[in-house]
Symmetry: C2
Subunit: 321 residues, 2 copies
């Protein structure tokens, strides 16, 4: 799908699988649509679904944080802290583990203050606050990342229903939550269902629309400054909820087109998944290839430490068109 | 060659090319031995060859620094600073560009002191000090990374002679020096020549043996604490010079076996190149698979932010045996 060039030669190549799903089924596919993948953080809107379906009332900012892989900037950290405080909980109730903030200014400020990274800085802390909110609503025990905990059982049921497939298994994610596997097609099918869910409805349909629209309304909460998810959502010419997952996964939800997109880079490289989702969005007419957010991911010069352009990240011949 | 598992499933896979060369030619090969690759930093001993062949007298520590992708710890930074000072030069004469130190303590100390990363912290600063030493010896101009500069012309000539192939082209490396392409076989052939070069001889043979032996004598200077090159060199049961290159390249020089190894992971992933070189060294009987340095690269648990084991980096069935 994607290659890195240097000088006049190709230096590295990335293979992958991708599916574009519309109301009629698979509209386009590359690689192996049946490849089993871990969605990782790309399915956070699925992991938040039982919380909203249960009727827990949340402002859209908190819905966006529940779906976020944020970079732990002040905006995100304070949002999660206030959410936890409103529930009478604290950082120690999270089970995601500590992670250094990815916001350079905050990270450097913490190093200068000899402050250790906290669990609220973990890019998944919003998802975990959502798990805690559902735990509280259900009156369940504190070990909410256990696959047998009511929260994770509800997540698995929603995941299998919306992907339309029985999950062949799960692994534990970087944040210790179970991450359920599905095919690339299953993940695209789930995103298409988010795309076609009607606003204002009750139950699952309304919950899916609410989460999707919260992501679209708050791109800075879903990732952060300079990040691909945030920049691509802002750049698209049609409303779009766009989300990355570790190990080379990306999804997009395009409600006005009724389309869902899912892709996985086989080797797990983020530079390639960012380029591939940009290429597909351009191919679908949802993104101007000359927009800076697109140019920074696709056809982008590789600049070395002295500021010299030494190569490019670009789509390989035949992908996506 | 290498895969990353999570739970009971394979999450990501890495393909690659590798060649083991002995005095008789190609002894073993995987993938495409004719694949054209950029060696990147794996060929620093080739880039230092004209300097030593020219008769510039250097202690073995400086030879090791010239071959190093060091992590910019105090040991490396001070070594390069003293070398520059002994030539009457300073950090501003380097052309590698600034890079934050990869040594956590030093990097954090510099952040606390509001000190910007310097060119001496760049992992290639020893190579560049070597280029400056040859520039001075030749009485050439200061723009030593220009492909038409006498230093780079000498590097290209040595590179093509020792790989036994005309280079099909070059790209500029992260440090702005030209990096000449060759086949995986060409790079393995060069490493085999380093392996079989006799000590104490003059000219190219003596220069190759001196650089190889400097790397073997100073594994901490070649990379640094916790780094794969350093740990694998120390762990091997036979003397070995081992060197990584960006975008998934690794080489090994095994003088007592008269063997050279070169490998390239097609997608450029370092986690896979480290696992693959460990797997080949184990396969050659040069590394105990139970040694901690091997275990940290191959069959190693992936540990998440909460300290939980969630998967493994391991060799795929059929590789290398």
């Amino acid at each position: 799908m994607i290659r890195a060039t240097r000088g006049d030669l190709v230096e590295s190549t990335h293979r992958g699988h991708a599916v574009v799903m519309d109301a009629g089924g698979i509209a386009m596919a590359w690689g192996d649509p049946d490849a089993v993948i871990y969605p990782r953080s790309s399915c956070k809107m699925l992991q938040a679904l039982p919380l909203i379906e249960a009727g827990v009332d949340l402002p859209s900012e908190r819905m966006a944080l529940a779906c976020a892989s944020h970079q732990g900037a002040a905006l995100h950290v304070e949002g999660v802290r206030h959410w936890l405080a409103d529930m009478g909980l604290g950082e120690d109730d999270l089970m995601c583990g500590p992670e250094p903030s990815r916001d350079t200014d905050l990270r450097h400020a913490m190093i200068r203050a000899h402050e250790a990274p906290g669990q609220v800085h973990n890019n998944c802390s919003g998802k975990h606050a959502g798990f805690l909110a559902l735990t509280r609503h259900l009156g369940a025990g504190p070990a909410y990342v256990d696959p047998d905990h009511p929260v994770q059982k509800a997540v698995r049921a929603a995941f299998e229903e919306v992907t339309g497939e029985d999950s062949p298994g799960f692994g534990f994610d970087g944040c210790s939550a179970p991450n359920f596997a599905t095919t690339t097609t299953g993940l695209a099918r789930a995103m298409q269902r988010f795309a076609s869910a009607g606003q204002g409805g009750g139950g699952r349909d309304g919950a899916m629309a609410a989460l999707r629209d919260a992501m679209i309304a708050h791109p800075m909460l879903v990732a952060g400054e300079g990040r691909a998810c945030t920049e691509l959502m802002a750049a698209c010419t049609t409303p779009a909820a766009i989300k990355t997952g570790a190990e080379g996964v990306f999804v997009a939800i395009l409600p006005e087109r009724g389309m869902g997109v899912a892709l996985k880079i086989a080797d797990g490289a983020t530079r390639a998944s960012e380029a591939a989702i940009a290429a597909i969005l351009v191919h679908l007419g949802a993104l101007d290839p000359e927009h800076p957010a697109a140019r920074r991911r696709l056809g982008v010069p590789i600049v070395n430490r002295a500021g010299l352009e030494v190569g490019r990240i670009e789509a390989m011949a035949g992908f996506p068109a």
